[in-house]
């Protein structure tokens, strides 16, 4: 499978301050790729390097098979970008901005434009200065989604949208996914969104990639939470490798277990007799928190 984005060991410094410190990002063609990291981790800097707005100081970056800096103009015809902080020209209407950006990218699907305006409930006649943050974001989203491009780069596109509109956004991206011919790089803070939309994800911190893969892959690296009601007292669980945070209370146990210790742990429970069992896969939230806490130690 070819890669729409192939960045390896990216380094970027602002003066002496390192913003990216060997960041890797690989996005396969046709997938929706989540790009996660806390504020200041380097998500926007990475995106700006991929867009040829900034030049990297080290490492290598390829975008749609080309050099993002040297071939910026040609590559930009094939992608659409929604910045995290959308600003519109104060005296141009939303409709004008959508059309202009679409034309500058090399084509706009009129029917799709109309459909998206309706789904996002956006009035295209308003002047840029009168839109709220969420509505400015909708303008940029409609312009990007209605453009005839292979790659969408979305930098926290839903940070100003209300929950209803977030839902519309998810539906639209899932629709894109079903079409299958578009690649999406989705930088986000909203883990539920990434969980719902993304095939694979990359987690970064302090300018480095700390985790990358499918959500499935990452779950293997993490713990499952088990809650069980048992027929009698259980021994030996606490001494089992891979079991953490064990709490017992009147025949009930609750613990976290590493994925590779799941089988022996369950076997121990079954020996005692299980009345009920709840097993919760780790949510992205927990993944995320664990990832960052690990780094803090």
């Amino acid at each position: 499978m070819t890669e729409a984005i192939d960045a390896e060991g990216l380094i970027k410094r602002f003066g002496k301050v390192p913003a990216l410190d060997g960041l890797d990002l690989h996005v396969r063609t046709g997938e929706v790729h989540g790009f996660l990291g806390p504020n200041g981790a380097g998500k926007t800097t990475t995106i700006r390097i991929l867009l040829g707005l900034m030049r990297h100081d080290g490492g290598h970056a390829r975008l749609l098979g080309g050099d993002p800096w040297a071939e910026a103009t040609a590559l930009h015809r094939r992608l659409a970008y929604v910045p995290g902080d959308v600003t519109l020209w104060p005296n141009l209407t939303g409709g004008e901005v959508i059309d202009l950006l679409g034309r500058l990218r090399g084509g706009l699907d009129r029917a799709r434009r109309a459909e998206l305006l309706e789904r996002f409930e956006l009035d295209p006649r308003k002047k840029g200065r009168t839109y709220s943050k969420g509505n400015r974001q909708k303008v940029a989203l409609v312009a990007a989604l209605a453009s005839d491009v292979e790659l969408l780069i979305l930098d926290e596109p839903t940070s100003g949208l209300d929950p209803l509109m977030e839902e519309v956004f998810r539906e639209v991206i899932l629709q894109e996914k079903r079409r299958g011919d578009r690649t999406v790089l989705l930088s986000s803070h909203i883990l539920a969104e990434v969980e719902a939309l993304c095939d694979r994800l990359t987690i970064i911190r302090d300018g480095r990639t700390v985790e990358t893969g499918t959500l499935q892959d990452m779950r293997h690296l993490t713990r499952t939470t088990i809650q069980a009601e048992l027929a009698g007292p259980v021994d030996g669980l606490a001494s089992l490798a891979g079991v953490h945070d064990l709490r017992t209370d009147n025949g009930r146990v609750r613990f976290d277990v590493d994925t590779d210790a799941l089988e022996p742990a369950l076997r121990t429970l079954v020996q005692v007799g299980v009345r009920s069992l709840v097993s919760a896969p780790p949510s992205l939230e927990e993944l995320f928190l664990r990832q960052y806490q690990r780094g803090d130690r």
């Binding site: 707005l53 910026a72 930009h76 970008y81 409709g95 002047k127 200065r129 009168t130």
Partner: protein, 526 residues
């Protein structure tokens, strides 16, 4: 009003360099005139002769106002007649910077949510600027006393400068309520200052030239009021009272308007626009036209008006020369009355060129504005290259000044004398290469050291200073040579030589391409 004191401290903190700078420089310049005049005219006769010719020179009267006496103090106060324009500009820009600009950028919201009253921000901006005006007047007063001029005149003169700051600070307070964008608020105050200036020119030149039928126009202009104080002569107090009253009324209007609008909005309504872009809006130059056209049209109209005024004043130059036997004798020796008109138009052309360079710098800095607001990112991530994006905007900083200069030259020529249109227009258009140099400095800064882009305003300010004080202070030639306008041929009257024009254009080209080269290599946004 709660929290006003804290906001005043915030303003003083944010403006801790720029505010003392303009207050001190503008307050000290007249003291420089005192020593300059003492050096230029060591004897009373020389000074009186200069005063007499100046009082009837329509060019001088347009620029500085009327001159009634011939004492040193009067000459200094008269010669400082352009400074209220600059004071007004600084005062107004300060108020807008701390009101509408903050509001547009969302800082007001941040502050408004804290424990500060609704009027606190406007009050803080107005109080701080008014106080700066008082300090400015005080600096001037002390400077005049220190130069040994009469205290009463020095007081009136200081009050004149303070009033100039107050009036335009208060007007800026209104402008900041009317529009929802800081840019349009700034345009409104510049327009107000421009209209005041033109009304004063019309009134003052009418008073000395024809039968004075239009001399009332000066009284329609706040700039007319402050210059009609005639410090060191009449020391009239009532124009000052009128200015103070006007300022108070304007502040009340601003406060009432503020009470009637929502945060972030202006009094002038925002209408719904077109749901889709026009067919022509599909390229980077088309977008640049959409963004620049209002500015270009405004400046073109303003310059045409300026041309009409300068042309009209030019007619009275001749009329006065013919009335004045002694003057026409001198002029006869110098090559006839036409040389006076030539000199006048060559002089105004230099001023017009300088003003055009402000437009050129403003249009160029639009690039930086687009970058900082994030608009550049939106355009540059489409198929538009950095080169095309920058060139689209630079079309307006290079061709725009040509358009406005053409408007002024044609308007001045047609108003004055159709037969002299060619000469007058030539005199105006030869300024263009000098204008380009100042625009090119802005491109250079933007491309190479973008964070210092605003320094691009320093060259026009320096050139203005050279124009205003260079001759009077008898600065060394090398100081005068800093200004590209010094190198422009003096037309009409002189001859057009290609060398300086070609050299200036070449300098502008080198600076522009160096700037564009820097732009292609740097981060956006930086």
């Amino acid at each position: 009003m709660t929290g006003t004191g804290k906001l005043i401290r915030l303003i003083l903190r944010r403006d801790r360099f720029i505010m003392p700078l303009w207050v001190l420089v503008l307050g000290i310049v007249p003291a420089g005139y005192v020593s300059a005049f003492e050096g230029l005219f060591p004897t009373d006769q020389e000074r009186i002769a200069y005063a007499q010719t100046s009082a009837t020179n329509a060019g001088f009267v347009s620029l500085y106002g009327q001159l009634h006496g011939d004492s040193l103090g009067e000459l200094v106060a008269w010669r400082s007649g352009f400074l209220p324009v600059i004071i007004g500009l600084f005062a107004a820009l300060t108020v807008i910077r701390h009101t509408r600009t903050d509001e547009e950028l969302g800082r007001t919201e941040l502050i408004g949510a804290a424990a500060v009253g609704r009027q606190a921000q406007l009050a803080a901006a107005l109080i701080t600027t008014a106080a700066a005006g008082v300090v400015l007047g005080l600096v001037l007063f002390l400077g005049m006393i220190g130069s040994g001029l009469p205290a009463a005149g020095a007081l009136a003169f200081g009050a004149e400068f303070t009033a100039s700051a107050w009036i335009f600070a208060a007007l800026a307070g209104i402008a900041a309520q009317l529009t929802s964008g800081a840019r349009s608020a700034r345009t409104l105050v510049v327009l107000a200052i421009g209209v005041s200036y033109v009304l004063r020119i019309v009134g003052d030149t009418s008073a000395i030239g024809d039968n004075g039928s239009l001399s009332f126009a000066a009284w329609l202009s706040p700039l007319g009021w402050v210059t009609h104080v005639f410090a060191f002569q009449a020391n009239a107090w009532w124009p000052l009272a009128l200015s103070a009253l006007f300022s108070v009324v304007a502040v009340i209007v601003a406060v009432v308007l503020l009470g009637h609008r929502d945060l972030g909005s202006g009094m002038l309504p925002s209408r719904l626009g077109r749901p889709a872009a026009a067919a022509w809006l599909r390229t980077a130059p088309a977008l640049a036209w959409r963004l620049h056209r209002g500015l270009l049209i405004g400046w073109t109209l303003g310059f045409a008006l300026l041309g009409i005024v300068f042309g009209g004043v030019g007619s009275s130059v001749l009329a006065i020369a013919e009335d004045n036997k002694g003057l026409s004798d001198i002029l006869g020796d110098l090559g006839g009355a036409s040389s006076l008109a030539d000199n006048y138009f060559a002089g105004t052309a230099g001023l017009v060129g300088l003003i055009a360079s402000c437009y050129a710098v403003q249009a160029t800095l639009r690039l930086r504005d687009e970058e900082q607001k994030g608009h550049a990112e939106a355009v540059l991530t489409t198929s538009v290259s950095r080169w095309t994006w920058a060139a689209s905007h630079l079309l307006f900083s290079l061709i725009g000044p040509a358009v406005v200069l053409l408007a002024e030259g044609v308007a001045a020529g047609l108003t004055y004398d159709r037969a002299r249109l060619g000469d007058i227009l030539t005199g105006t258009m030869v300024q263009l290469p000098a204008v380009w140099v100042l625009a090119a400095i802005a491109v250079l800064l933007f491309g190479v050291v973008p964070r210092l882009s605003l320094v691009a305003w320093a060259p026009p300010a320096i050139c203005l200073l050279v124009l205003l004080v260079g001759g009077t202070l008898r600065l060394d030639q090398w100081v005068l040579d800093i200004s590209p306008f010094t190198h422009v041929p003096h037309v009409p009257g002189g001859s057009v030589t290609a060398l300086p024009l070609v050299t200036l254009t070449a300098v502008a080209l080198v600076l522009t391409f160096t700037g564009l080269g820097g732009l292609r290599r740097r981060n956006i946004p930086d």
